[in-house]
Assembly symmetry: C2
Homo-oligomer: 279 residues x 2
Amino acid sequence: MNQKNIKVLKSNGEMVDFMPDKLKSALMRSGADAKEAESIVNTVISSIGERTKTGKIYKIAYNLLKQKSKYVAGRFRLKQAVYDLGPSGYPFEKYVSKLLEYQGYKVKVNIIENGACVKHELDVVAENNEERLMIECKFHRDKGHKNDVKIPLYIHSRFLDIKASWEKSGDSKLNYFGMIVTNTRFSEDATEYGKCTGMRLVSWDYPHGNSLKDWIDRADLHPITSMNSLTKLQRQSLLDSGVVLCKEIVENHDVLLKLGLRLQKRDEVIKEAEVLSGS
Amino acid sequence: MNQKNIKVLKSNGEMVDFMPDKLKSALMRSGADAKEAESIVNTVISSIGERTKTGKIYKIAYNLLKQKSKYVAGRFRLKQAVYDLGPSGYPFEKYVSKLLEYQGYKVKVNIIENGACVKHELDVVAENNEERLMIECKFHRDKGHKNDVKIPLYIHSRFLDIKASWEKSGDSKLNYFGMIVTNTRFSEDATEYGKCTGMRLVSWDYPHGNSLKDWIDRADLHPITSMNSLTKLQRQSLLDSGVVLCKEIVENHDVLLKLGLRLQKRDEVIKEAEVLSGS
C-alpha cells in the first residue's frame, strides 16, 4: 500500500500520522474484503492533504464504501451512529443497557436508589450471578470531549454510598462495582483514577479488548441510527418511542407503523435492519 | 414596629415573609443603633410591596444607612462585597485563607498535591496543632446558585485520595478533614451528604454559628470590596495585585500607590479601611 506520510487532524485537535492500515482494517471490520478496502484506501490517500480532519477522511471512505454496499457502510458508520443517538442521553443509556443484557446481565434503567447517606438517580444497574454494577452513562455530542477526573471522582463517591446501602441489605454474595460508560473518551488522570480505585471505565476504544466498540462488535447490536434507509427525522421518531436497536425492528415490524412508510420502503428498511443485526 | 405581612422574593426565587426584625438586627450588626435601625426599617416597610426582591430591600436599607454613615454601610454590604470579589474565584480563595489564618491555622493556597491515585489542585490547605483541612472554595456570582450534591461527592473522593497520601507520609498525628466553603448555598442533599460523611460544609449562612458570615463577623476582616471610597475599577485593580483585605491597606499604605490617588482621596480611603478593619 502507498505509505504516504501525511499529518491529519483528530477531532480533539491533535495532529497524528495518517495510518492507512488502520483505515483498511476498519473497512474490513465493516465487511469489505481486502481488495475492496485497499482500493478505497488508495483513493482516499490520493484525495487528502496535510491537516485533513480524520472525520472527513472517514466520510470520504464511507462514501466510497457506500457505493459498494449501503449495508456494509451502515456498519462502518457505527461510531457516528452512536453519536446520533443524541441529543438527549437517554437512548444511549438504553443502548448501553441492551449491550449489557447481551453480556448476560439483568438490567434496570433509570432508577432512584437510597445510598447510605443520600438518594441517587442511577442510569443503569446490571446484575449477574457474580456481580452487581452501578453504571453511569456519559453521552456527549462533542466528539473531542474528554471526561475529566471529576466524573470518576463523583461517581466513585456515589458508588461507595450505594455500595454501603447494598451491603446493609446484606442477603447478597455479589461483588459490587462502579462503572462509567461514555461514547467519547476519558482524560489520562480519569483513567488512572479508575484503575487505582477499581472502578470500570469504558469509552469508545478503552479498555483495549473490552471497549464500547468491542461490546458492540461482539453483540452485533446496531443502533437504528446506523440505518441509511431511514431519514434523520424517522430515526428520531423511533428513538422518541423508545426503539434503539435495528434488532427491535426485525423482531417487531410494527414499531415502523408510526412512520407511515410505503410498503416498498418498509421492506427496504426491514431488509437493512436484518442485515445490520446479522439476521 | 409596624408588622406588615408582606411576601418578598428571595434571590433563589422562593417567596418568604418579610421579617422586619431580621432587617433591624442586620442593621444593628452593621453598627446602627436601635433607634436608627428602627427608623430605617419603618421607611423600608412603607416603600416596598408584595414580591419585592430581598436584594432590593437591602439596597434601599443600605442607601438609607449610607446617609447616616458610609462606614457603617460598608459593613452592611458585606454579603454583596463577598460577591464583588469575583468574577474569578481566586480572590475568594485568598479571602477564605485569610479567615482561616485568623482562626489560627497555617495556610497554603493553590497547591498541587499527590493523592494516593492521582494529582490534585488544592485551593487551600490549612493546618493547626490538631487537624489538617483540605479546602475547596466554590465561588459563584449567581446569588441563587445552589451547590448540588455532585460537588461534595467529588470533593469527598478527592479528599479520600489526598488523605490516603497524607496518611502514607505517616509522621503526623493530625486529624484530616475535607471542607467546602462557598459564598452561596448548598442543596439539601449536599448538606445531608456532608453531615453523613463528616465533610465540613460552610456556606454564607450555614452551619448556624459557624457560617462564612460568622467567620467574617468574628475576624472582622472586611474585603476591600466593602469600601465605598473606592471605585469598582480601583477595587478590581487592588484584587488583581493580590490585595483582598481592608486591613492590608491599613498595614501597608503603599498598596494604594498604583491607584494614583490624590492625597485627600488617599487619606479618605485609608480612613475607611481603618474603620472597616476595626483599627
